[in-house]
C-alpha cells in the first residue's frame, strides 16, 4: 500500500486532500468538549463554545487555536461535554415558574441615597 502520497500545486482533489482518509481519522469519533475562557485576570471563566478533541491536552490546544485567536483570553478551562448535567427544558414549569410571583426576592424595596448610582 502506498501511503505516502504527494500532491502538487493545483492538483489536490477533495477526496485526496488528507481530510477524512479513513473513518477513524475523521475526528467524528472524538468526544465533544466545552470550552470556558477567562478574558481578564479577576473575571470569571465564561462559556465560549465547544469543539472536538481526542483528549484533554488536545482540547486545550484546540481551544487556544479556535477561541483565543483575537486575544480573547488569559485562561482556558475545558471539560468533556458528557460530564455536564443539564436541566430538562420540559421541566421549566416546575423549576422556574414558582419564582415568578415572588417579587420580594428582588432587593427593590430599599431606599437608596442619591449618591449611589447604577444599582
Amino acid at each position: 500500500m502506498n501511503l505516502l502520497r504527494k500532491f502538487y500545486y493545483g492538483d489536490i482533489p477533495e477526496d485526496k486532500s488528507g481530510a477524512a482518509v479513513t473513518g477513524s481519522a475523521s475526528g467524528h469519533d472524538w468526544p465533544l468538549w466545552e470550552v470556558f475562557i477567562r478574558s481578564k485576570n479577576g473575571l470569571e471563566h465564561k462559556h465560549a463554545g465547544s469543539l472536538h478533541a481526542a483528549d484533554a491536552r488536545m482540547a486545550l490546544e484546540n481551544a487556544r487555536d479556535v477561541y483565543t485567536r483575537r486575544m480573547e483570553g488569559v485562561s482556558i478551562w475545558v471539560v468533556e461535554s458528557k460530564h455536564i448535567t443539564a436541566s430538562n427544558p420540559e421541566e421549566a414549569g416546575e423549576l422556574y415558574e414558582p419564582a415568578k410571583d415572588k417579587v420580594y426576592r428582588h432587593p427593590t424595596f430599599y431606599e437608596l441615597p442619591d449618591e449611589v448610582n447604577h444599582m
Binding site: 501511503l3 505516502l4 502520497r5 504527494k6 500532491f7 502538487y8 500545486y9 493545483g10 489536490i12 477533495e14 486532500s17 488528507g18 481530510a19 477524512a20 482518509v21 479513513t22 477513524s24 481519522a25 475523521s26 475526528g27 472524538w30 469543539l51 472536538h52 478533541a53 481526542a54 491536552r57 488536545m58 490546544e61 484546540n62 487556544r64 487555536d65 479556535v66 485567536r69
Partner: protein, 245 residues
C-alpha cells in the same frame, strides 16, 4: 551595504515564507475543523515572521525594494530557503513531522538570535520565539500521537520520517553567508538531535540511520517543487504588476 547579512536575513525569511505557503495548502482541507484552524494559525505566524524579515531586508537593500518585491518578484535561484520546507504537501503525518523538524530547528536558532548584536534581528527573534515554542509543542505532540497511535498512523509517520529525514541535514550545513552572523549551527545540531530523538522515541519510531543528505536550497539550487510554489504565489504580482488588495 553588507551583502552577506542581507542574504542571511533573506534565507531566514524564505524558510518561513515557503513553509507558510506550503502549510496554507491545508486551509479548508484539514483533517478536522479544529486542526485546520491550528495549522493555518501556524501558517499565519510563519508568514508574519517572513514579513518582518523581508521588511528589514528591504530597508537594508534600499533602491525601492519592498517586502512585496522580495516575496513576489525574485526567481527560484534567488530564494535561499532550505529544501525541507519546499517539499510537497503529503498527508497529515508528513505535515506535522516536517513542522516539528523545522520548528525545533527554528526554536534553537531564535534563542541564539536573541543575543544578536543587531537589535532588529534580536527583536524579531524574540517575537518569533513565543510563536515557535507553541509550534514545537503542537507538532511534537502530534508526532507522538500518530507514532504511538494506530498501526496505520504509525506506518504513515514512519514513511514520512523516511521521506523527510534526508532533508534535515541541510539545516546544519552552513552556507557562506551564514558565517559571521552570530549564530552557530554546530551548537544547534546536538540540541536538535536530542530533542528530535526524545520525541521520536516517545512516538515509538525507529530512528533513522546514517543516510545521504540533500542540500542546495540555501544557495538557490532547489528541487523542482519550488518553481511550482512560486508560480502560484507570484502569479498575481507578475500578471498585474503593482496590484494591491
Amino acid at each position: 551595504m553588507n551583502q552577506k547579512k542581507t542574504s542571511y536575513i533573506l534565507h531566514l525569511a524564505d524558510n518561513s515564507l515557503i513553509l507558510g505557503q506550503r502549510n496554507s495548502e491545508w486551509c479548508g482541507h484539514g483533517p478536522v475543523l479544529e486542526q485546520d484552524i491550528a495549522i493555518t494559525n501556524i501558517t499565519l505566524d510563519l508568514v508574519g515572521q517572513a514579513r518582518s524579515l523581508y521588511q528589514y531586508a528591504a530597508s537594508l537593500l534600499g533602491e525601492g525594494t519592498t517586502e512585496d518585491s522580495l516575496a513576489y518578484l525574485r526567481t527560484e535561484r534567488e530564494f535561499l530557503n532550505c529544501l525541507l520546507v519546499e517539499q510537497p504537501k503529503a498527508d497529515w503525518a508528513h505535515t506535522v513531522l516536517r513542522q516539528f523538524f523545522f520548528s525545533t530547528y527554528q526554536y534553537y536558532l531564535c534563542q541564539q538570535l536573541l543575543s544578536h548584536p543587531d537589535a532588529q534581528l534580536a527583536a524579531i527573534a524574540e517575537k518569533s520565539l513565543k510563536e515557535v515554542r507553541y509550534h514545537v509543542r503542537w507538532s511534537g505532540e502530534w508526532v507522538i500521537r500518530l507514532g504511538d497511535g494506530t498501526t496505520e498512523s504509525k506506518q504513515r509517520l514512519q514513511l514520512a520520517l523516511a521521506a523527510l529525514w534526508p532533508y534535515t541535514g541541510e539545516l546544519f550545513m552552513p552556507a557562506a553567508y551564514e558565517s559571521g552572523q552570530g549564530t552557530d549551527l554546530s551548537a544547534i545540531r546536538p540540541l536538535w538531535n536530542e530533542k528530535v530523538q526524545a520525541v521520536l522515541r516517545e512516538a515509538t519510531l525507529d530512528l533513522p540511520g546514517e543516510t545521504f543528505m540533500h542540500s542546495g536550497g540555501k544557495t538557490g539550487v532547489h528541487t523542482e517543487h519550488l518553481g511550482f510554489i512560486l508560480a502560484e504565489m507570484q502569479y498575481m504580482q507578475r500578471t498585474y504588476p503593482g496590484c494591491e488588495w
